[in-house]
């Protein structure tokens, strides 16, 4: 339960306030939520720092769409520059009211194992930019986000021309996802509740996307955190991961 709210005037100021007992507050859909993952005594509000712009950018000669960290899911859905694949990921959050609040940067920063956006961002090779202007891949951030816990994310860069197909499985549309799969050419991101992103290197190293191969990959992928839980059995989640990779790749081929 937060005891203090700081409303800084700039991203640099916001970064200065950050320590192990504080957290950046963007949309509030996670931090202010019942049983939040985040336990911070001080919240640093970044909602009014002007970090919500969406515009074209270029990194190393490659065109990107730069999405400000506090752009909401609704901002992205309503912006004509945002590619459909990313809008689809934003729509995975089924509540319109929640989409009005949840921010792209917040969803990445929180790095949940049932994230709405991470699989799509990872498969598409998206990047994350910190307030110190350092840029890393979203995948790198996700896998080592504790290292970056005190850094303020200021933007996400997505490839506007990426061909991403994604699918999310949850009990109801409003429930937490237990399996989310995104594929983009050779890139495959598979997120499983409890385990987060699982190792897809074997899949990505192969061009075989047959159902048999993908199911075999899913059955054998090593991750002790893929477990039976209230969302389903381990075998079900592994099966879904494999069959969905194959399905999405086939759709892409069509």
């Amino acid at each position: 339960m937060a005891e203090k709210l700081i409303v800084p005037r700039s991203a640099i100021a916001a970064s200065r306030y950050k320590n192990s007992e504080s957290a950046f507050l963007a949309g509030g859909t996670e931090i202010n939520r019942l049983n939040s993952y985040v336990d911070a005594k001080t919240l640093i509000s970044i909602g009014r720092l002007g970090l919500d712009t969406i515009n074209d950018a270029e990194i190393d000669g490659k065109p990107y769409l730069r999405i400000g960290a506090t752009a909401t899911f609704t901002d992205c859905i309503e912006n004509p520059k945002v590619p459909e694949y990313f809008k689809q990921a934003c729509h995975f959050m089924s509540s319109m009211v929640k989409r009005n609040m949840a921010t792209v940067g917040g969803n990445v920063a929180i790095a949940r194992d049932d994230s709405y956006l991470i699989p799509t961002l990872v498969a598409s090779g998206a990047l994350v930019e910190f307030s110190n202007e350092k840029i890393i891949t979203v995948k790198e951030y996700y896998l080592r986000h504790f290292r970056h816990a005190n850094k303020l994310i200021v933007a996400i860069y997505i490839d506007p021309s990426a061909k991403v197909r994604s699918k999310r499985y949850s009990n109801t549309a409003s429930g937490h996802a237990y399996v989310t799969v995104a594929v983009c050419e050779k890139n495959v991101a598979v997120q499983i509740k409890g385990a987060g992103l699982v190792d897809t290197s074997r899949l990505e190293a192969s061009s075989d996307r047959s159902e048999a191969f993908c199911l075999e990959w899913a059955e054998k992928v090593k991750n002790k955190n893929i477990k039976s839980d209230m969302f389903g059995s381990e075998s079900y989640k592994r099966y879904l991961a494999g069959v969905t990779v194959s399905m999405l790749c086939k759709e892409g081929a069509r």
């Binding site: 709210l5 009211v97 409003s174």
Partner: protein, 960 residues
């Protein structure tokens, strides 16, 4: 921090902690309609407001973030006397029922229409995607938007809201607005939380972390030292009175097997202690300081575990009977264990054996079932399992109690005010004249508010402390400490002949009542008594046993036991049709009952007593089946363009009851006021279903008065007369009929008094619009106002007050058939309900628009139970998904793409103006209809709730 903002166009300034939630700030500002249904989960949407024109959940926004913002709240839209077009359209469409978050929905639809003058169905769906509607379903929200747009664009509605019935009647059977609609949709004071006094104490409950344990000791010394703590209640300082929490007629067919606090806790979430303190913070702080020494015991969670030889006993104390004690009771009680077990007291025998964890049992048979099975050409025999599901009313359980003038006043969100009064009387020792129960509007009940789950303790706390006390459940407490639907294992054996007749049915029901026996006999009885009478079959047997376990408690839930019995029987029937090689539709048509068929099976299926064998009364079942089959094009295979998706169809016939003949009892008092208006005091408890509107329509119809000249006061134990309450689908039939009797009597009094005052013969007089008596002989007209004034002004016989009582042995049974078309993905097991058609014979639907919405709501709820909802317990009995997000209630996204509710026109002989019950029956059809459709699509039977993609994939052999 000083926060300046504009709230509903008025500039405001607050000096508050900036980490305060925006909702709390708005409550401080008096915006009561910004409610909370999910403890800041961001799910239900009752806390929706607009910040700078954007809909947000106010529980997820901090006050410090709205400095300089403009905020609009639902109660800023309009006051009840000047509703907006959107608010009125919602009432007219019938969606304003229990209405706890109707104001929030009105705000969202207003926002939608302000930003989109021609929204599509998808736009409306998206606007409502973050608001949870449990009572009325979502379908008529689309209608509400359409109506609002028509009114805005052309000044009047063009679309028919609902069909009308009984053209010879003025208001009955016509879609007219719900009388409490304006109060509810505008967010005026309506619910318990709106009537809480300032400086009221808060009560919070310490709950058991163990599924089964003796309490060795409780140390409250540190907790008591917390400033502001008034009292701490435990088993050591509260009465040893044994009672039960089921709101049923007295003597109850449920064992008295609990105290306010027990010395043995029997489920995770069971009461251990309660802290009453001046503030919620102090109460919670003290709660954390209570030290309890538990002696943890082994527990049982399933009927299989409970029935196993040597299983741990959930209750193992002394057994007593108020009547009908067995001769060997003393011997039986020698087996009682630790005194901390307490007692189990039966009002009359329920064929129980607590040493075997059996809380109740019953069995019966007609014909010769064994012989009939031998003669069957085909037999199916399968077991169907239903899960533990929760009502999830938007308004969690809440009670406010205080002492006033030496009397205990209890504000309750309840379906059973008179049962609340009785049980509060038991635990406090107060006589009923010293207890005043005020039923407020109920923000969703569905059976959970038939049980006295917090009123007993809250009222006791107010009584012993002399302080006003508020208790309000958290959402988690709703799951772990309230009632749920009884999980059941229904074993069905059904035999048929090649000619397409069913010649034998055996139904074995094993129900899990959890740690206490609320409704333990009657819910499983209901799974037989409201299903077997659908079948024209001479040989039927049922055998039911109910087991105590250490799961969260079970109790009444809309549909009672029927959805579970219907699931098993109709799934088995469809499977048997396949085995016999007959079309399922023909099979159903051939084997369902018709009007006049004698229901021999009912003789053993009373509510703890002998049942009455009666013939089938008015029955729209055949029409519902045939019409539904036409609508869904039964027999026509639908193919998907995507080969991974297979499409199937299914349907189920359904029935329920309309109250409990011979047991239920309703009363009403109709008063002609001195100006000729009428106040009807109804004992009935309107829980949002429109019962008060039914009573008002009854008065309007009989006395030919405009609706606005009638006021209904209901559910107040001081001003109204006794009513058993709103459960067992009794509201319309019993309470409605009591209103008919009272109003008819008032009419007779009016005519008699008019004859006296007009110097005419009663037989020459008639009641005419708008509330007057006319002489057919002289043509003279005497308005009610004049008549009534004279009657109390020294020249008449006093105020005309009529008292109506309704009891009956007659039974008006609603029937229906529900149809589903589903698409199932053969790769992923995903299921989409593409079409759902609910066709029901509700007799005369007195409020047709409200009736349709209740059908939509109940079906949506049962789709949830069938496909998504289930409380999941770990090995220690802890509920893993005691929150809305993980539990799985369906939202608008899960609603069928093509959803239709159809009222079959049947005029019943006994119901008020021909009406029967409407909403409970609508819970019964979804599970079997969907289950049969899944089989039609992919060829597998899924015989347990919820029918998940994983179960489908397993049945298809895709995963092991």
């Amino acid at each position: 921090m000083n926060i300046k903002c504009i709230i509903n166009s008025i500039p405001r300034s607050f000096d508050v902690d900036p980490t305060m939630k925006l909702r709390d700030l708005l409550q401080l500002n008096g915006n009561r309609a910004v409610r909370d249904s999910d403890d800041s989960e961001g799910f239900c949407g009752s806390d929706t407001v607009l910040v700078d024109g954007v809909p947000v959940y106010s529980n997820l926004v901090l006050a410090g973030e709205v400095n300089g913002c403009e905020i609009r709240t639902p109660d800023g839209l309009a006051d009840p006397a000047h509703l907006t077009v959107v608010q009125q359209a919602m009432i007219d469409a019938g969606v304003v029922q229990s209405a706890y978050n109707a104001p929030a929905a009105a705000l969202l639809l207003t926002w939608l229409l302000e930003n989109n003058s021609n929204p599509s169905r998808e736009d409306i769906k998206d606007a409502l995607s973050g608001i949870f509607i449990r009572d009325a379903g979502y379908e008529h929200y689309y209608l509400a938007v359409k109506l609002a747009l028509e009114k805005m664009n052309s000044g009047s509605y063009k679309t028919e809201i609902a069909p009308s019935f009984r053209p010879e009647l003025e208001v009955i059977g016509k879609p007219l607005s719900k009388i409490d609609g304006p109060q509810l949709v505008a967010g005026a004071a309506a619910f318990v939380e709106d009537y809480v006094d300032k400086n009221t104490c808060h009560m919070v409950v310490l709950r058991s972390p163990h599924a089964s344990a003796y309490i060795n000791s409780i140390d409250v010394s540190k907790a008591k030292a917390v400033p502001g703590v008034i009292e701490i209640l435990t088993a050591y300082n509260t009465p040893e009175t044994h009672y039960m929490q089921a709101g049923q007629g007295n003597p109850e067919p449920s064992p008295h097997d609990r105290r306010l606090f027990n010395l043995k806790v029997r489920h995770v979430g069971d009461r251990v202690a309660a802290v009453i303190a001046e503030t919620e913070e102090a109460a919670k702080k003290a709660l954390d300081l209570i030290k309890v020494d538990y002696q943890v015991l082994p527990a049982v969670f399933t009927v299989e575990e409970a029935m196993a030889p040597g299983a741990p006993r959930v209750h193992d104390g002394i057994v007593e009977y108020r009547s009908g004690a067995p001769a060997d009771l003393d011997e039986y009680n020698k087996g009682a264990a630790d005194p901390r077990e307490g007692k189990v007291i039966y009002q009359f025998p329920l064929h129980a054996d607590i040493r075997k964890n059996i809380a109740a049992s019953n069995k019966g048979e007609i014909g010769n079932v064994d012989k009939a099975f031998e003669e069957s050409d085909a037999i199916v025999e399968n077991t169907y399992q239903t899960s533990q599901v929760q009502h999830t009313p938007l308004e969690t359980h809440i009670c406010f109690a205080k002492m006033d003038g030496g009397r205990l006043v209890v504000y309750a969100s309840t379906q059973v005010p008179y049962h609340v009064r009785r049980i509060v009387g038991w635990v406090t020792g107060l006589p009923e004249n010293k207890i005043h129960v005020i039923k407020t509007r109920v923000g969703g009940g569905y059976g959970s508010k038939q049980d006295i789950l917090i009123e007993d303790l809250t009222a006791y706390a107010a009584y012993v402390t002399g302080k006003p006390v508020l208790c309000h459940n958290t959402r988690e407490e709703e799951f772990i400490a309230n009632s749920t639907r009884h999980p059941m294992r229904v074993h069905v054996k059904m035999g048929g002949k090649k000619d397409g007749t069913i010649n034998a049915i055996f139904m074995e029901v094993c129900a899990n009542t959890g740690p206490y026996g609320n409704h333990c006999l009657t819910v499983p009885m209901n799974s037989c008594s409201k299903t077997l009478p659908l079948f024209k079959c001479d040989n039927m047997r049922y055998d039911l046993k109910v087991y105590y376990t250490n799961t969260p408690p079970a109790g009444a839930y809309q549909g009672y036991g029927t959805p579970k019995g219907t699931y098993g029987l109709m799934m088995a029937m469809a499977e048997l049709a396949g085995k016999l090689g007959v079309d399922y539709k023909d099979f159903v048509l051939k084997n369902h009952v018709d009007e006049g068929y004698m229901l021999e099976i009912l003789k053993g299926l009373g509510e703890g007593r002998e049942g009455a064998v009666v013939p089938v009364g008015s029955c729209g079942l055949d029409e519902a089946i045939r019409k539904g089959c036409d609508m869904i094009e039964w027999g026509k295979k639908v193919e998907s363009s995507d080969p991974d998706w297979k499409i199937g169809k299914g349907f189920a016939m359904i029935m329920q009851g309309s109250g409990l003949p011979g047991l239920d009892h309703s009363e009403a008092i109709a008063k002609l006021e001195t100006d000729g208006t009428v106040i009807l005091n109804s004992g009935g408890a309107d829980l949002g279903t429109g019962l008060d509107t039914i009573s008002a329509k009854v008065v309007a119809e009989i006395l030919k008065l405009p609706m606005e000249k009638i006021t209904v006061v209901s559910g107040d134990t001081d001003s109204c007369a006794f009513d058993t309450g709103a459960y067992a689908s009794s509201g319309t039939f019993f309470s409605g009929n009591a209103s008919v009797v009272a109003t008819q009597k008032l009419k007779d009094m009016i005519l008699k008094e008019a004859a006296f005052q007009m110097n005419e013969k009663v037989e020459d007089l008639e009641i005419v619009h708008p509330g007057a008596v006319r002489s057919k002989a002289s043509g003279k007209v005497l308005p009610y106002g004049e008549l009534s004034h004279t009657a109390i002004s020294g020249g008449g016989h006093g105020q005309m007050i009529a008292h109506g009582t309704y009891v009956t042995t007659a039974s008006s049974v609603p029937y229906g058939a529900h149809f589903a078309q589903v698409a199932v993905n053969v790769k992923t097991g995903e299921i989409k309900v593409q079409k759902f058609y609910a066709l029901q014979d509700a007799g005369t639907p007195i409020n047709p628009e409200i009736a349709l919405c209740q059908m939509y709501g109940a079906v949506q709820k049962s789709i949830g139970h069938s496909l998504y909802e289930s409380m999941i317990l770990d090995k220690k009995g802890r509920c893993l998904n005691a929150n809305m997000t993980d539990y799985g209630t369906p939202m608008i996204t899960e609603a069928p793409e093509d959803f239709k509710a159809v009222l079959i026109d049947v005029n019943d002989k006994f119901g008020p103006f021909g009406a029967k019950s409407i909403s409970e029956i609508a819970c019964n059809g979804a599970a079997p209809a969907i289950g049969i459709a899944i089989h039609d699509a992919v060829g597998v039977w899924v015989r347990s709730w919820p029918m998940t993609p994983e179960k489908i994939l397993r049945a298809m052999g895709k995963i092991k």
